[in-house]
């Protein structure tokens, strides 16, 4: 076949070529200096027969914000949901490899996914408050996890940490979570996750459905929270990744391409694919 000019190649051909380039390419990893909370070891995930994640090995540093970036379909949400076993809920998903939480494999036999999710909380792409009062939204996690005393206090604390208290304190019981604005709903979801005091907070594009002002508030919140909580955030917004994260991992076609301190990854990417992505050549 005669060589064709680059711009006339079809999408599929380009994709096939990229996939080929990735094969056998070791990820470029600059290991973080902080101790890891979560580590993945050769983590692979299949949807039926389709591999969504290919042997990802990554250490997520404690009390830092790690951003996962990559074009849509690269497996970043799948990766995130693997970290607290949310993928278990999707029929037909198969997981291989290990996810170590404080050195303990959360996929080991005998580990309760419920317990995992309690310690590793999650905030979703679209705000999804329960159709209940604001108070009940936050208190639910507390109740089911056995907190019986001082519920009011704990709810208030969670709402304060999510920077929502002042806006909702007058109608905690009167208004449904669904009555709030989109940004408030997302902060309510963060408060809900924080209430059970997780060590890690997974955020799946938490601001993608929000307007710029609400997005800024969420980003500020992430900054404040990383003092206490390890945060892993998936985003397809590179500016956001650059703004909020300490470390960034670039996933592409299910493979980890590069991982390192955010500033370095954005300014001096090691891999060509990373550079192509952050300079907007594809995605």
């Amino acid at each position: 076949m005669a060589p064709t000019p680059l711009d006339t190649r079809t999408e599929t051909e380009a994709l096939a070529q990229r996939r080929e380039e990735l094969q056998g390419l070791e990820p470029a990893v600059v290991a973080p200096s902080e101790p890891p909370v979560l580590q993945t070891r050769d983590l692979s995930i299949w949807y039926g027969s389709q591999r969504a994640l290919d042997r990802v090995t990554l250490d997520l540093p404690a009390r830092r914000v790690t951003a996962i970036i990559g074009p849509s379909g690269c497996g970043k949400s799948t990766f995130l949901r693997a970290l607290n076993r949310m993928n278990d809920l999707i029929p037909g998903v198969r997981t291989e490899g290990e996810v170590l939480f404080h050195g303990q494999n959360i996929y080991a036999k005998g580990v309760d996914p419920v317990e995992v999710r309690r310690r590793i909380g999650m905030v979703f792409q679209k705000p999804n408050p329960f159709p209940k009062s604001i108070y009940e939204n936050v208190a639910f996690g507390l109740r089911i996890n056995g907190y019986r005393d001082r519920l009011d206090e704990r709810v208030e604390e969670a709402l304060r940490r999510a920077a929502l208290w002042d806006e909702v304190k007058d109608f905690l019981h009167k208004k449904s979570g669904l009555d709030l604005s989109g940004g408030q709903q997302q902060r309510l979801c963060i408060a809900r996750a924080l209430a059970v005091q997780p060590e890690v907070l997974l955020m799946d594009e938490p601001a993608s459905a929000l307007d710029p002002i609400a997005t800024a508030r969420i980003e500020d919140l992430i900054h404040e929270l990383k003092e206490e909580v390890t945060i892993v955030i998936v985003t397809h917004n590179m500016q956001q990744a650059a703004r909020v994260s300490d470390y960034t991992a670039f996933l592409y076609l299910g493979r980890l391409v590069e991982f390192g301190p955010t500033a370095q990854l954005f300014e001096n990417p090691i891999r060509k694919q990373t550079e192509d992505y952050i300079t907007g050549k594809f995605g």
């Binding site: 949310m86 029929p91 979703f124 089911i144 059970v196």
Partner: protein, 491 residues
């Protein structure tokens, strides 16, 4: 070139034809829809109309009268007109009623109500229904019963003519028409109003028929000591009875009185109404938990697999099994093998089996409306599967589940075939007291009344249909209200 190119005009004509065909088709389709709806609505409307007869029927009952239809059969042998002559007698007079006060007695024959001649029982009801509104009384004319009109009669065989009798007045009742006409004991009754007299009961019947056709003064030919005489009997008596017509009262009485198998004007739906209520209650108690449970299993727990697939196919197809099949199961397994007999319990469980697939399907649909985000959110804060179901999925889906359940119960409420098979009694003249009592339900009562040949029961059946349809409408209305209310709230 063989094919001629069409001119523009031809194309336009063709299009017009095609359009006309389309319009015709649209008209036919609309016609079909309207015809279907119209026929069904007309059927329901005529039933409702027929059921209004209940008002007049109840009014006669309130006046204290129970009526029944009799016929006088005249053979060709006796001369005169052969054939059947229907007439209406008073079968019962309620003690202390206006009818008793007026002097009506059991066995009296009604001649007219208002100006309407009474041949059949329905004439009485029609006459009362036709009274101008606001008029709550009607004059009635009647012929007293045999004893009251004449006295005692005796049939004496005619010598040498086997099978033939002479009717002899053996005692004249004091104050009777016979006394007033000067009849004496020993008189032989020969002919009344031109009709030959051949028997004791027939003598009186002849007087009644003659009174109706010829007026209240009936010529009576007698034989006294070998001599033929003609007396004129004033057989007709008149008076006025109150007939209170009120739809509310009529239906109130209908719903609160017990079944009366003989007189439609006294027929009541109380046993069937309560029977239906109890049976539905048992059905709900059995089918609710099972239905919700199965739906939760299929939607929340089951993995895709052979078992799940089999379950789905079974449930979808059990919903379409003829209801009469469930009747056989109820009869064989519940009533006989388990020894529940023809009880409310057996009936309720039978119907629960019948509506269970419907309930499961409805509950599954409701569970599917719960957005996955709600489940994810709850799992995300560390809820167990059961906690997610109990605190989020079920509360969210409950209005939808209830809507489906109510619709399924309304199906059970209208079911007759399985219970007919189970052997629910058609005559239940008591109110069921416990789960072990035998029972009847409204649809069965309709079935029973609809097949009764006597006048008036069709109307009573129609009234029960109205009651049943109103109940179903209430249930459906509740379901729709529930659906709308919560749909608004959640979305």
């Amino acid at each position: 070139m063989g094919a001629k190119t069409k001119t523009k005009a031809a194309v336009r004509r063709g299009l017009r034809r095609r359009r006309a065909l389309g319009a015709l088709f649209a008209g036919v389709a609309l016609g079909a829809l309207l015809l279907g709806l119209l026929v069904l609505l007309v059927l329901i409307a005529t039933t409702a109309l027929q059921s209004t007869q209940l008002v007049a029927m109840r009014a006669t009952a309130d006046a204290g009268l129970s009526l029944s239809l009799r016929t006088l059969q005249l053979g060709p042998r006796g001369g005169g007109t052969a054939g059947f002559f229907p007439y209406v007698t008073v079968a019962r007079v309620a003690p202390g009623s206006p009818a008793e006060a007026l002097g009506l007695r059991r066995g009296d024959a009604l001649l007219r109500v208002g100006e309407v001649p009474v041949e059949r029982v329905s004439d009485v009801w029609r006459a009362i229904a036709a009274l101008p509104s606001g008029v709550e009384r009607a004059s009635i004319a009647w012929v007293p019963g045999r004893r009251g009109l004449l006295g005692s009669l005796r049939a004496v065989p005619v010598p040498d003519r086997p099978g033939e009798f002479r009717v002899v007045l053996s005692k004249v009742a004091p104050g009777s028409a016979a006394e007033r006409a000067g009849l004496q004991p020993g008189d032989v009754l020969v002919e009344a109003g031109g009709l030959p007299i051949t028997g004791t009961q027939q003598a009186w019947q002849a007087l009644v028929v003659a009174a109706r056709t010829q007026g209240g003064k009936v010529p009576l030919t007698i034989e006294r000591e070998g001599e033929r005489l003609t007396a004129v009997l004033d057989v007709e008596r008149r008076g006025e009875l109150p007939f209170q017509r009120s739809l509310l009262r009529a239906y109130g009485a209908f719903l609160t009185s017990l079944n009366e198998p003989r007189y439609p004007e006294h027929a009541g739906l109380a046993s069937a109404f309560l029977g239906s209520l109890y049976v539905i209650l048992v059905t709900a108690l059995v089918a609710f938990p099972l239905g919700i449970g199965a739906a939760v299993y299929l939607e929340e727990y089951a993995r895709r697999g052979v078992l799940t697939e089999i379950l789905q196919i079974l449930i979808a197809n059990l919903a379409g099994v003829p209801s009469v099949i469930y009747g056989i199961i109820g009869l064989e397994i519940l009533a006989r093998s388990l020894g529940l007999g023809r009880s409310i319990l057996a009936g309720g469980i039978t119907l629960a089996l019948l509506v269970l697939p419907i309930m499961i399907i409805a509950a599954r649909e409701a569970l599917r409306t719960v957005p996955p985000s709600v489940r994810e959110a709850a799992y995300g804060v560390g809820a167990t599967r059961w906690q997610v179901i109990r605190h989020h999925v079920l509360p969210y889906a409950l209005p939808g589940i209830f809507t489906g359940m109510i619709l399924a119960l309304s199906r059970a409420l209208g079911e007759a075939a399985p219970l007919l098979l189970l052997g629910a009694f058609l005559y239940v003249s008591y109110v069921p007291q416990s789960l072990w009592d035998s029972f009847t339900v409204i649809p069965l009562q309709i079935f029973d009344w609809a097949t009764k040949p006597q006048e008036g029961f069709a109307e009573v059946a129609a009234a029960s249909i109205v009651v049943l349809l109103v109940l179903l409408l209430l249930l459906n209305g509740t379901a729709i209200w529930l659906r709308n209310r919560y749909q608004k709230r959640w979305s």
